[in-house]
Structures are given as structure tokens and as C-alpha cells.
């Protein structure tokens, strides 16, 4: 897999899964745009690592839930890189994955749903709206939206999060139908529990053990595990795939 000469935007890439995806692209020679919201220092570190790994890296701040900020950011990327080949919508509204303290169905307020839907769908929508015209002109492009395997099997019903990510899967499929004619592909990657990340830091060992026991590959995912399928969906090797969801959870969901 070689991404030399390709420009890849990864949102929420200062840490966790996003950072692992950014590094993996850079290792294959890509110019990686490391989007972040708050962690400037971490994002710049990831960008520097991208350069060390043989690619190029550029950290850029931008709140993906703000249309104006997204448009500004895409403009800046175009000035810097001249094109965008791949977009990985990885950013999401912060959420604590704690099965013990999660909200029960009857405790969830509409605002909780709205927050997560904004974080997942609205942000992906703004980014897609901004990059699709660019990709159309290029007659090619690959958009990968990071969701979760909880859309298929909500082993813990994080209502607002799971619902928003399921919506993002639906969004991706519909978008795939529309933009396929322009050579643009839209797919999803659905990781299982990924540890360690800041969001899963408080996940208890007994939940991890429960998941491991039911996972054919007998462990939980690391951030690096998620990068491979993302790179595949970004590459020409998946050129006849669109609207798909790849589950990256060691076989927990099948």
C-alpha cells in the first residue's frame, strides 16, 4: 500500500484511534492533515511523528461541529496541499464509556442525543459537504467514517452514542449511493472496544474480560488495529467497495 502523493485528512487525530490512523497513513508515505480541537501540543507531536515515519504531517485546529470552522479548515488545507484524496471522519463528541455510570434509557434527555448526533453526523456532514466538491473535481475520493460495532450489537446500550453512530452508518450509505457516480466512495469502519484510549481509560477489567471471552481473536483492539482496515478502504484495493461497514473487533460481531 503506498499513499505517496496522497493527501489524507484525519479528524480528531491528536490522540487515540485518530492518531494511530494518522501515523499508519504517514508510514505509507501520505501527507496527513492532523485535525484537532484542543490538544495542540499532542496534535503537533503526531504531525512530527508523521514526518519521522516517512510521510508528511500538518496539524490544524478546527471544530468539526462548526460549519464555518470546517469550511475555513478545508480552505486552508487546499492552500497548503492543493487537494484532498482521503477523509477519515474520526472525531466524535467526548463520551465516557463506562457501563456502570452510563445513562439509563429513561434518563436520557433529547439534548444527550442531540449532542452525540451533532458530534457524529453533523460533523461528518459539514466535512463531506466541504470536501465532496473537491473530490468531484478530482473524480475520485474515499471517505471513511469511524463508527462502532455497538451499532450491530449494543452489548452496552450507550443510547445516545450508539444511536448517533448508527445514524452515521445510515448517512454514509445514502451518501455512497449519491456520490458513487463521481468516483467517490464512502465506507465505515466499526471498531469494538479499543483500549487504551482516553475514552476507554475507565472501562473496567471485568467488561474487557467479558468481551475478550466472546471474541474469537481473544483480545480487545488497540488503536493500531483499527488503522489497517481504514487504510484498505482508503486504498485502490477496495476500489469496488462503497457503502460498506467493516467490523474491526476480533470477530465479536459477525
Amino acid at each position: 500500500m503506498n499513499f505517496e502523493g496522497k493527501v489524507v485528512l484525519v479528524t480528531g487525530a491528536s490522540r487515540g484511534i485518530g492518531a494511530a490512523i494518522a501515523r499508519a497513513f504517514a508510514k505509507e508515505g501520505a501527507f496527513v492533515i492532523v485535525n484537532y480541537l484542543q490538544n495542540k501540543m499532542l496534535a503537533e507531536k503526531v504531525a512530527a511523528e508523521c514526518i519521522q515515519l516517512g510521510g508528511d504531517g500538518y496539524a490544524i485546529q478546527g471544530d468539526v461541529t462548526s460549519e464555518e470552522a470546517v469550511n475555513q479548515m478545508i480552505e486552508e488545507i487546499m492552500l497548503e496541499a492543493g487537494k484532498i484524496d482521503v477523509v477519515v471522519n474520526n472525531a466524535f463528541k467526548s463520551f465516557q464509556f463506562n457501563p456502570e455510570t452510563r445513562k439509563l434509557a429513561w434518563e436520557v434527555q433529547w439534548e444527550d442525543y442531540q449532542g452525540q448526533i451533532d458530534g457524529a453526523v453533523r460533523s461528518a456532514h459539514y466535512i463531506c459537504q466541504a470536501v465532496i466538491p473537491i473530490m468531484k473535481k478530482q473524480s475520485q475520493g474515499s471517505i471513511i467514517n469511524i463508527i462502532t460495532n455497538l451499532v450491530e450489537r449494543p452489548i452496552v446500550p450507550y443510547h445516545e452514542y450508539n444511536t448517533a453512530k448508527t445514524a452515521l452508518m445510515g448517512y454514509s450509505r445514502n451518501l455512497a449511493v449519491e456520490v458513487g457516480s463521481f468516483g467517490i466512495r464512502v465506507n465505515c469502519v466499526a471498531p469494538g472496544l479499543v483500549y487504551p484510549t482516553d475514552a476507554s481509560r475507565t472501562t473496567k477489567e471485568n467488561l474487557k474480560e467479558l468481551i475478550i471471552a466472546q471474541t474469537p481473536l481473544k483480545r480487545i483492539a488497540t488503536p493500531e488495529d483499527i488503522a489497517g482496515p481504514v487504510l484498505f478502504l482508503a486504498s485502490d484495493w477496495s476500489r469496488f467497495m462503497t457503502g460498506q461497514t467493516l467490523y474491526v473487533d476480533g470477530g465479536f460481531v459477525m
Binding site: 483500549y195 487504551p196 477489567e205 475478550i212 471471552a213 481473536l217 481473544k218 483480545r219 480487545i220 488497540t222
Partner: protein, 496 residues
């Protein structure tokens, strides 16, 4: 609870970025001490290095204050204080806990996750209700430590803790020193502990937390460091102690013993070898993976550095899953755990030793039928499978495990028996009937603890370490015989 002495991971040439002080010195009227600096990557640990005169004052202080203060407390108060301090170290938001999670990985080289889980599992043993278990297990009636108590045989007895226990700790497993430290406190002894250069931190933190929790105890104990083998110093301290508890390999213990005078008791805890036994009844299509998972967990916890860590697994033939398949399952689990709980970074010497060991094992597969060496030299673990191997060999540790098939337990006992003085824990997966039958056989060859797989490295509170007692070995009983009481009756002022 000891395996090989671990090398200090030090990179002296780097510039230090962080320096912390360790150890705990009671108030001896001065605060200026020579310093010993131990270096661990970017961390410098500063330990007080006492002159013999200062050491003498520490001994006098600890003896005096523990006699006056600690011995005047009820044992339930002592339990409350230790339990409170333990809870602080269990609380992930406390500064003590955060300090331990941050610094122990640097000092020991263990992965942060390994330390985090290891600490919690270990410290749970010292919560209030578990401490009560320690007391009842050894004494039956904990009030024996407070007052003369009536005895079933007649008469009254009281348990007296020593004036001074000196602990010489090892550094193989982080935080482990507090096992004997807590035992010493429970019997209300004055305690002086010498920390190892490879884990000089935890015992000092615990002492500091105790003094903060109960300031009146601040001068009842000390945590110090001196260079092991400093004969003059050891002789001087041991002469003033009633009891010396030593951890280490047999050579270390032998050297220590030489310095212990005849009037001081010496309790050595040396090298031990532990292993697992898996019955064919546990090896069906459904349960085999879970057993392999638990077995691998025992291997990865502190990379087998504990005395209770497995060196090999005996696996019975005839189950749905064969011993060699089971070995492969363990290999798979070790690889999975490597991602979750990576192995400690080995020193150059350790890596070289391991590589040459592996090479030898691989060579032998050409001549020994059925033998397999699983994994490659790039893996951070090795599993060796052997058919009914007749030799009982210790593992070079650091995630190296041997799986040996057997038909009947009776067949392997003769090969284990010569190692009687080294045997300790068995992790067992078997039916209840087998468990008790095998326990009888293993007890006869010197095994002192049988536990579930996955629990080998977490002994229960109040366990009999190497078959001995936590508290009974520390105390002496004082009896008032019934004759004395009967006799005294006649002298009572109210006698009719």
C-alpha cells in the same frame, strides 16, 4: 515470595529530569543525612544513607516509641490505621496511588497496566476485613495481642510482638515488602525495613502514609537503605533486633544469616518454584481456552518474578484438547496479553541469556521427539512443549513457560520430589475429587499452596507463606498457668 534478583535498570549517562526522595526516617533529632542516589532512566531516587551512629539512634527511637505507643494501641486500632492507609493506596484519585502508578513503572520497568492491576490486586489483601482474617487465621482470638486471654487448656496467654523486627526486602515484585511490614505492625513490633535498590519506593510511601494517618506512630518504624553485604552495619542492626526477616536468593540469605547472632531469630524466605497442573477433565472444547487464558495470566503477572509464579504447566493427556494443543492455546494467549500488558523491557544481559536459552531449546527439538518450541525469537514469550518430560526444570522466567504432558500425577511426582525445599504454589484446574486427591499427593512432596489458575500470583490474606504463619512466627506467647491463678486466689483481700 522471591525469584531471581532483578537488575537495576539504570542509564547513568542521561540527564536527570526528576528527583524524588525515598525511604522513611523517624525523628532522631537531625534531618541531614548522606545520600545515596539510585538512577532509573530519567528518574533519580534519593535515599538517606545513615551513619552507624544515626542508625543506632533510629534503632533506639523505633524500639522506644513502638514500645510506648504502638504496643499501647489495641490491635483493632492498628487494623483500622493500616486499613485506612491501604484504602488510600487503592483509591486511584489519591496522590499516593497516582505517585505509585506513575513512578513504579519507571523504576521497575513493568508496563503501567501491569503495575495498576498488580497494585490493586495485591493491596486488596490489606483492607480492614482482610487484616482481621490475618489475625484470626493465626491467633484465633486477636485480643491475645492486647491482653491475657483465657485458654482452652486452662490458664491465660498473651501474644507479645518483638521489640524490633528488621526486614531485608527484595525488589522482585513491586510493593511486596509491605506484606512483612504489615505483619510486623499487626503484632505491634518496632519495624526497620531495608529496601532493595530495584524497588526502593513503595515501603517508604506506605510508612509515610501511616505516619500521616496516625502521627503518634511516626517514630515506630523506619525504611532505610544500605548496600547489601555491608557486614559491619548488618551485624550491628541484627544484634539489636529480636527478629530478622530476609528475602532473597539462597546466597543472599546465607550471607545475611552469617551476620545474625544466636540471640536473634532469622526468618528466611528464599527462592521458590511454582507450577500448574491441568486435569484432562478441564480440557473440553468449551473450557480449555478459559483455562489457557487463566494460566497465561499467571505467567504474565510481573513476568513470573514472584515465588508463586509458574515455571511450568503439567497437562494431562486424554482430554478433548490435547496437551500440545493446550500449549498452543497458551502461546496464543501470551501473544494476546503482550498487546494488553507488554513484557518489561529486558536488559541486554537478560535478552542475550534468553536468546541463547531459546536456541538451545530449539536445537534439542531435533533429537527429542514430540518437543516443540512455540513462538519465534521476535515474540516476547516462549512456550516449550514436551511429551512426558522426566526432568523438572525451572524456567528462565520473563514469560517463558514449559508445558509437559502426563498420564497420571503419580508418574511425575518422583521428578518433583527432589525439589521439596523449593516447592511452593500449584495452580490447579481439576475436578473436586482430583483436587483433594492430588493435593494429598503434592502435600507429601513439599507443596505448600494450591490455588486456582489465574490466582497463583494473588495469595489469599492470611495464607501460609511457604507453609509458615504470617503472625505466629513473629510473636512469642506468654502463659499464666492455671496453677498461678488458683494459687493467687488465696491471697485475694476478699478471700472468705
Amino acid at each position: 515470595m522471591l525469584a531471581s534478583g532483578r537488575r537495576v535498570y539504570s542509564i547513568g549517562e542521561r540527564n536527570s529530569k526528576m528527583r524524588i526522595t525515598a525511604g522513611y526516617i523517624p525523628n532522631i533529632g537531625e534531618t541531614k543525612f548522606d545520600k545515596k542516589i539510585l538512577k532509573f532512566q530519567d528518574l533519580e531516587v534519593e535515599l538517606p544513607l545513615l551513619t552507624l551512629e544515626q542508625m543506632q539512634r533510629v534503632i533506639d527511637t523505633v524500639k522506644r516509641e513502638s514500645a510506648e505507643i504502638l504496643k499501647s494501641l489495641s490491635v483493632s486500632t492498628v487494623v483500622d490505621i493500616i486499613g485506612y492507609v491501604t484504602e488510600q493506596f487503592l483509591d486511584r484519585s489519591s496522590s499516593y496511588r497516582q505517585q505509585a502508578e506513575k513512578l513504579l513503572p519507571i523504576v521497575t520497568g513493568y508496563d503501567e497496566e501491569v503495575i495498576r492491576l498488580g497494585l490493586t490486586s495485591f493491596l486488596k489483601t490489606f483492607r480492614k476485613h482482610e487484616l482481621q482474617r490475618f489475625l484470626v487465621e493465626d491467633l484465633g482470638n486477636p485480643l491475645l495481642l492486647d491482653h491475657f486471654q483465657p485458654r482452652a487448656k486452662g490458664g491465660f496467654s498473651k501474644a507479645i510482638g518483638p521489640e524490633l523486627i528488621t526486614h531485608v526486602w527484595a525488589g522482585n515484585v513491586p510493593a511486596l515488602p509491605i506484606w512483612s511490614f504489615v505483619s510486623g505492625l499487626l503484632v505491634k513490633a518496632g519495624n526497620i525495613g531495608k529496601v532493595s535498590s530495584s524497588e526502593p519506593l513503595f515501603a517508604g510511601w506506605f510508612a509515610k502514609a501511616l505516619a500521616e494517618a496516625e502521627p503518634s506512630l511516626a517514630n515506630c518504624f523506619a525504611v532505610v537503605w544500605w548496600k547489601g553485604g555491608d557486614e559491619k552495619r548488618e551485624k550491628m542492626i541484627f544484634e539489636k533486633s529480636n527478629l530478622v526477616i530476609g528475602y532473597g536468593n539462597n546466597e543472599t540469605l546465607k550471607a545475611l544469616k552469617k551476620q545474625v547472632p544466636i540471640t536473634t531469630r532469622f526468618l528466611p524466605f528464599g527462592h521458590k518454584v511454582s507450577f500448574g497442573i491441568i486435569s484432562k477433565s478441564a480440557l473440553d472444547a468449551h473450557k480449555a481456552w478459559r483455562i489457557a487464558h487463566q494460566a497465561a495470566l499467571d505467567v504474565i503477572r510481573y513476568d513470573q518474578q514472584g515465588c508463586y509464579s509458574p515455571h511450568l504447566f503439567y497437562v494431562q493427556k486424554g482430554g478433548k484438547v490435547s496437551p500440545v494443543e493446550f500449549a498452543r492455546l497458551i502461546a496464543g494467549e501470551l501473544e494476546n496479553f503482550e498487546k494488553r500488558y507488554p513484557r518489561r523491557k529486558l536488559s541486554m544481559e537478560e535478552s542475550v541469556a534468553l536468546a541463547s536459552w531459546r536456541q538451545k531449546e530449539e536445537m534439542s527439538t531435533f533429537t527429542e521427539t514430540g518437543k516443540e518450541v512455540l513462538g519465534t525469537s521476535t515474540h516476547q514469550w516462549t512456550v516449550v512443549f514436551e511429551e512426558e518430560e522426566k526432568v523438572f526444570t525451572a524456567s528462565p522466567l520473563n514469560r517463558v513457560i514449559r508445558v509437559i504432558s502426563f498420564e497420571k500425577l503419580e508418574d511425575i511426582l518422583p521428578y518433583i520430589k527432589p525439589y521439596r525445599s523449593f516447592l511452593q504454589t500449584i495452580g490447579m484446574a481439576a475436578t473436586p475429587k482430583e483436587l483433594f486427591h492430588w493435593a494429598e499427593l503434592l502435600a507429601n512432596v513439599g507443596v505448600t499452596r494450591i490455588t486456582a489458575l489465574g490466582k497463583m500470583t494473588s495469595p489469599e490474606a492470611g495464607w501460609h507463606h511457604d507453609g509458615r504463619f504470617n503472625l505466629l512466627d513473629l510473636i512469642q506467647m506468654v502463659d499464666i498457668e492455671s496453677s498461678a491463678i488458683v494459687d493467687s486466689e488465696q491471697f485475694a483481700p476478699y478471700v472468705d
